[in-house]
Every structure is written in C-alpha cells, then in structure tokens.
Amino acid sequence: MTTTNDNAGADRKIVTFSLAQQTFGIDMRALIEIREWDEPTPLPNVPGFIKGVTNLRGNVIPVVGLAERLGWEPSAIHARSCVLVVNIAGKQAGFLVDEVNDIVAIGETEIQPAPEVETIESSVIDGLVRIATRQKDGTRDEKGIMVLLLDLDALSLTKHLDIAA
C-alpha cells in the first residue's frame, strides 16, 4: 500500500511511516536521512526508549525507539526496519520505525487538530490528516487512511530527559 495525494494547493510535504499498525507522518523538512537499522551502542542510565547512540558520519546521535516513546509496544526489528534521522531544534536524533511508506504533499487546511486527550505530557500529535490511498491493484480507496502528524518539538529528547532526570 502506498499513500498518494492528488490535492491541489498542497503546501507541506510529509514522510509517512508505519508504527504499531498506525500511520504516522513527520515534516519532510526535519528529515536528514533514512538509514537501515543497525544495533546502536547502549547507554546506561537513560530511559528505555533510548536504544543507544550511533555514529552518523562522525556525529554521535541517539537512537530512539519511537514506538516505546509514544507508549506503544516496542517495535520488533525486521528486514524493513528503518531509522529516520531528524533534526529537532538543532539536535539530531534517529527514530526507529517499522516501515517507511511514502512522501506526500498535504495542504495546511487538511490538517485537523488532534483531539485533546489527558496525558502526562502535552500531546506529541500535532494533528490528523486523511490521505487517499492507492491499493496495489491501482484502484483508489476513497476512504483513505488517517495519518498522525508528530510534533517533533514536543518529542524533543532533551525536554523529555530533563523531566526524567
């Protein structure tokens, strides 16, 4: 399954990926690169969702299990596991995801605010957007799927670790 978008007036590109049977999206501008999963060097004294650190061309960057970070079951590593390397407010981090799907353009107006849910931290879901999908046989699924847009700043590791520390 790939996600597509035929809307005119699209002004934002997002990368969609699956995690815990959901489809998530992050802003394309924050993405540095997508890498294959490579076992990172574990760190002591850090929350469990931080899988460790890895070497990104001479930079030491943390690798985060995004599923755990969002409260889902930890991802099982498989052949299509990927690490999305992103830039959050000048810091680089890798997010482990189950599978990267597509890059789609969306219009700002299509984004619906995420429902207010009571959680300990402020929501890391920036908004929801529906994306029409194309099935493998080429037919359009008009119902589309829901993509959860992640608020990377709210995910910021530093912020979260300050709370944890």
Partner: protein, 730 residues
C-alpha cells in the same frame, strides 16, 4: 538573504570583540604608563574599525558613540591631547560604555546610558585635556592651518575652479609641536582613463582633500600630448598635494575610496629633513612606469614655499638634531603590525572537522600497526607514518589553541565595575596571559572565572579601612595567572584579602546540615565546603555574589571540563582558587576496557595501576560494598556494571581491577572485564545531540566506526556521596 546578512553581521560582532580586546589592552597599557604612539594607534584603529562596521550595519547609537570616542583618540594620537591619567580614565569609562553599546547592538543588553561618557569625552575634546595639567606647548599645533599666503600664480589651477591654500608656516616654529616632527603628507594623484570614464571627477576629490586642509603644490602637465594626439577622454594630469601632518592617514585615503583602482594614488610623509619641495616632486614619476613624465613645479608660489620650508627645516634641525630618524617610528609600527599579525579567520566547525579527521587518521594508524607484521611495518615505513600523523595532530591542535588572554580580557572591566560597586580599591595583576589553551576551554572557563573574580573582590578583599587597620596597604590586589604544566593548565585567582573565615564556614555548614555538628574537619576540608551546593557565608547576599553562592556552580562547571578546583587560604593573608584544567577538550588519552562485553574508554590520567585479583583479594565489607587488598591497603571497589545496570555474572577473579585516583574519593578500584587497548580518542560530546549522562564523559568513534562511551571517573566513583568530604556523616 537575511541569513547571509546575519552571517556577515556575526563576523562584524566577532571583530568587535577582538577590537574591544585590543582597545582594552591598549587602554590598560596606557593606564599603566605606556603611552607610546604604537599603543595609542592600536586603540584608535580598534575603535575606528568598530565605528566603520557599526555604520555599515546601521547601529546608529554605537556608531555615534564610537565616533565621539574616536575623535578624542584621534586628538590623542595626533598629540593634541596629552594622554594624561585623567584623559585615560575618561577613555576607560568610554571604553566600558562602548562595550555596552556593542552588547546592545548584539541585542543582548539594553541601550546603555552614555550621556555621561559622551559629556566627558566632549569635555576632553573641548579643553584638549588641559584640565589635568597638559603642557601648554601643545596648543601651538592645535591652531587650525591658516591660508597665509595665497600662491602667486593660481592661474594654472583656475580651470578647475579651486583656490589653493597654504599652511601657515608659523605653526612650525614651535619646536616641540608634533606637526613639525612628522613631515606633512604628500599625496600624488593621477586619475586613470577608467576613472574619468566612470565619472570619477578629480575635482570632487581634490575639493574633498581641500576641506582637510590640502594644498596643491604641483600639477604635472608633462604628459599632455600635442593637440593633434589629444584624446579628450583620457586623463593626463598628475596632481601633487600637501596635507597637514597631523591628519590621520585614513582620512586621506578615505577620500580616494571610490577612485578606480588603476589610478595612481600615493600617500606618504614628506621627508622633512632632506626635502625642499622641488626635490620631492619628481618622486611620483617612479610609480607608473609607462609614463615617462618630467615633473615640473608649476607655481612660483611653490618655489617661495620651498625656500620657506628650507628655512623652517633648518631651524627645526637646529632645535632637535635627530629629526631625520623621528619620522621612521611614526610609520614603521603600522607597517610592522600589519606584517606580524597575518591571520586568517576560519570557521571553528571546519577546524573541528579537521580535528576529527585527524583523529580518525590516528586510529587508522594504530589499526594498521596492529595488523602488520613487524617486517611489513618496516617495509611500509609505518614509524615514519606514525610520526607524521602525530605531527599533523599536534599542529591541528595548535590551530585551535588561543592565548588565554581572551578569557582574561574581560576581567579589568569587571573589576572597574566591582570597584565602584564595593567602594574597594582593587589592583589587578595578570601573569601568563599568553599561555595557549584550546578555544573550547577558553570559552568555558569564562563563567567560573567571572565567579571567582567576583568572589575575590566582594568577599576576599577587605574594605580600605579594614585593610589599613590590619596593617595592609589600602589597595587590595587580585592576581590572575595562568601556566601550563604538562597536559594541564593551572588558572589561579589569588587575592590578598582576609582569607576564609573557617569558624564561620564550619558553623554555616552545620547550620545548613551539610556536615554533622561533631564533624572533625581539617582546614582544607573546611575550605572545600564553600564549594558545597547551597552553601553561603555571606550574611547579606550582595548583588555581586556571596563567597559560596555560586562556588558549587564553579566547581561543577570545572569538573564538567574534566578539571578540578583547589582552594588554598591563609587567614589574614588571602585566598587562592586554582582551576586545574585539561589543555584540550578534544582528545583524551584513554584505555579501552570492556564492561559486560561492551567497550568503554577509561581516561588514562586517572589510572594508577591494574591488578588481576587473586582469590580472596577482594573482600565484602557489607552486602553492597567490597574492598581490594592492595599490599595491605584496603581500597574500595566499585562495579561499573552495577552502576550502569549492565548484566554481569563474571567472577571478580576473572576480571581486572583498575585502580583509579579521583579527586573526590581518592583511590578506588573499578572492576572491568578486560583491557583491549590504549589509544588516544577524539571526544564527542553526548549533549550535543542528547543530554549529559551521569557517569559518562562523552563518546568516541573507534576505528571500525563503532561507538565507545567514555567513563567519567569522578562521577562514577563518587556517585553515592558526591559532595561529602571523606569520613563525614552525610
């Protein structure tokens, strides 16, 4: 677009910082009595370039203030205002305000109140600094040039519509006047064809020069061809002008800013002793080789002038014999300074990258050494390669090294402020400010240094009355020094004040619950208490600092740099704080060890020895604590695997115990699986992308691209009772 502007502006601010440093050093030197032309010119140039940049970026307040300051400096440089202590004092305060203006331009501070400083500068300008006993003799030179005798034959120049004016030669009669010492400026100007084609009207430039007091002393018409060959669009004239000696050269060159580059512009000092004007004039002919023009002095007036000059020159020569040599120092330092400080501005990021690459090279080198047989090593000249690599590494490190002066430079200003706030008289002595340290270290010691200086000024030094009562001189002294010892640098802040009041410190520590009431402490242990968090002995916490308030911050900052703080105090004689820091934050000599199979780097500086424990050598003293018997000395043993929560089912007898020495806890044994290697590693900070992690000093990338974490020994071994001195109840 605006990013680009910001980048350029960032460069300007960096230059401002450098300029301010230079200016401050110059002013401090002047305050100390060194009022040589070189020093004054240095300060002038610094302020001048700040003004220039500020103007270009539209920082109006900064420009205006720098301009006024520059005016005063210019007069001082021209010898019209004597650099008396009073004037230097005004300039020092002006410097402070200038720094504030720069901060304001950066958006880091509100606009400073500069009126008082402006008034003071104005005052100095108005009365030529005479209020503090300036020698009246200088006033002769300050008289504006007067057009005394209009040249007889101005006709030649008339077609351009200007009236030549002459310098009143009477002014030169005062033998001590600096204007007479330096030769007048002689400017040769031959616009090019291109300049005329680009509407570079020579008349406008000559008029501008005239407003500065220029006088045309010659127009070379020798290159004008016959009418038949005349190209009306070409330029044929060469003007020679004389300008008053006391003008700064930059004022003259500024006039030529927009002249096409292929025009001939020469600005030089008239050779006073040797030169009647007629002989000076042919000199410019040497410049453009293609024009073989015979220079003809055109006006009769010039000849009169030449005769007059000759007379004056003879008078001056009689009054002060070595006149010929005087002009040399006036010009030489400027040229010399330009040559000596050939530098290039490099983005620190690029240097870091280079350092990383060199680090990789070092690692590759050692891998190569491991894999080659001894015979092959010789064949590929591996030792030679290793030596080269080491040299490259040392050189790259030295590129990042900067004199610690940069960190020290803001101290004088701070002390001036503190002096006002506390009403104490404070002298500053600096030693070893040329000691070179890695730029990263310099940046990070700023805050701890500030704290220590403030502490010393506020609490270390007594008031003048107290000092007199104690039989000391009323002025307190703070000594700031830096020295390198091996791979460490020692930065000391020493005051000759009252010393630490140990009774009060101890009482306070008991009151705050930092130590128990019956604790027996040595003097050193008591002194260390002021670095404990939340400790303050200041009865009323002043707005400056309390000794103790912030000292814990100093200590943790310094420890974060891999350094430590030592305190030494003698009651009644003063206190010395010593920061002992690594020279660089970039490379570390480390031991690669394994903990539960994972590789870690243990900083070699901490390692005393390694032991393979025999059965029974490690003993339990409680369910959670062990000691190792080291030749009769029982050393506590820590398992890093436990602290880090790693799975480890190894027997201690199968492991190695590395005895490390830590600042806070003395000797401690660390249990590791094995030791892999010893090598230099390039330190990568974890907080760059993550967050500092307790027990880790960073990470490094090994030769195979994998990551090894660097152990922070201090934090590891002191993890349970970090701030509690040995043997005390917590």
């Amino acid at each position: 677009m605006s990013d680009e502007f910001d980048d350029i502006q960032a460069i300007f601010f960096e230059e401002c910082t450098e300029g301010l440093t230079t200016a401050e050093q110059g002013l401090s030197a002047m305050q100390g009595g060194d009022v040589s032309a070189e020093v004054i010119a240095g300060v002038f140039r610094a302020v001048h370039s700040i003004k220039g940049g500020a103007g270009a970026f539209g920082h109006a307040d900064l420009t205006a203030f720098a301009h006024k300051f520059e005016n005063v400096l210019d007069e001082v440089r021209g010898g019209k205002i004597p650099p008396s202590p009073g004037v230097v004092k005004v300039m020092l305060s002006a410097f402070d305000v200038l720094s504030d203006h720069v901060e304001c331009a950066k958006g880091l501070a509100p606009r400073p109140a500069d009126q008082a400083a402006l008034d003071a500068l104005e005052q100095v300008l108005a009365n030529k600094g005479a209020d503090d006993g300036a020698p009246a003799a200088n006033s002769a030179a300050t008289v504006a040039p007067v057009a005394a005798e209009p040249p007889a034959a101005a006709g030649e120049a008339d077609e351009f519509g200007f009236v030549p004016m002459a310098v009143s030669l009477d002014d030169f009669d005062a033998p001590a006047a600096p204007a007479a010492v330096d030769g007048a400026w002689i400017v040769t100007f031959k616009p090019s064809r291109a300049a005329l084609a680009n509407a570079g009207e020579p008349l406008l430039i000559i008029r501008e020069l005239e407003t500065l007091g220029a006088e045309i002393i010659g127009v070379d018409t020798g290159t004008v061809p016959s009418l038949r060959d005349l190209d009306p669009e070409d330029a044929y004239f060469t003007w020679t002008l004389r300008l008053p000696a006391e003008l700064p050269e930059s004022d003259i060159t500024d006039c030529f800013d927009f002249v096409a580059p292929d025009s001939v512009v020469e600005v030089r000092r008239d050779a006073v002793a040797a030169a009647p004007v007629a002989e000076v004039a042919p000199a410019p002919a040497a410049a453009p080789a293609e024009d073989d023009f015979g220079f003809v002095p055109v006006t009769a007036g010039v000849e009169d002038l030449a005769a007059e000059m000759q007379r004056v020159v003879e008078q001056i020569a009689a009054a002060s014999p070595p006149i010929g040599s005087v002009e040399t120092p006036a010009i030489a330092p400027k040229a010399g300074a330009g040559d000596a400080q050939q530098t290039i501005r490099v983005d620190l990021g690029k240097l870091d990258l280079l350092l990383n690459l060199v680090g990789e090279l070092v690692i590759r080198n050692s891998i190569l050494a491991d894999r080659l047989s001894p015979a092959d090593r010789q064949r590929v000249e591996l030792p030679e390669l290793a030596r080269l690599t080491r040299q490259i590494q040392d050189n790259v490190m030295s590129l990042r090294a900067q004199p610690i002066k940069q960190a020290f430079s803001r101290v004088p200003r701070m002390l001036r402020d503190l002096s006002v706030e506390t009403g104490k008289q404070i002298n500053l002595e600096t030693i070893g400010e040329t000691t070179e340290v890695d730029k990263g270290v310099i940046e990070k010691i700023g805050d701890p240094l500030t704290h220590m200086i403030r502490n010393a000024a506020d609490h270390g030094l007594e008031s003048a009355e107290e000092r007199i009562a104690a039989g000391k001189s009323p002025e307190g002294t703070i000594k700031l020094s830096a020295e390198q010892r091996g791979a460490r640098i020692f930065v000391r802040v020493q005051d000759n004040g009252r010393g630490i009041n140990r009774e009060r410190v101890k009482a306070k520590a008991i009151e705050k619950g930092i130590i128990s009431a019956d604790a027996q402490l040595s003097n050193e242990e008591i002194d260390q208490l002021i670095c404990a968090p939340g400790f303050s002995t200041a009865e009323t916490i002043s707005n400056i600092s309390g000794r103790g308030v912030g000292m814990d911050v100093v200590r943790s900052n310094v420890e974060a740099l891999g350094g430590r703080v030592e305190i030494h105090s003698v009651p009644g004689e003063g206190t010395t704080f010593t920061m002992i820091l690594p020279l660089t934050l970039a490379i570390l000599d480390g031991m690669i060890v394994r903990l539960a199979g994972q590789r870690f780097v243990l900083p070699l500086a901490h390692v005393l020895e390694t032991v393979q424990p025999e059965i029974g050598q490690v003993k339990r003293t409680s369910p959670d604590s062990e000691v190792i018997d080291m030749r009769g000395e029982y050393v506590p043993v820590k398992r890093a695997t436990e602290i880090f929560g790693l799975n480890d089912d190894r027997q201690v007898e199968d492991s190695l115990v590395v005895i490390v020495e830590s600042e806070g806890s003395g000797k401690v044994g660390l249990v590791v699986d094995t030791i892999d290697d010893r090598r230099e590693v390039v330190i990568k900070s974890l907080d760059q992308n993550l967050h500092p992690i307790r027990g880790l000093g960073g990470a490094t990338i090994l030769g195979d691209g994998s990551i090894a974490l660097i152990l922070d020994i201090e934090a590891l071994v002191a993890s349970t009772n970090r701030y509690t001195p040995k043997g005390l109840a917590a």
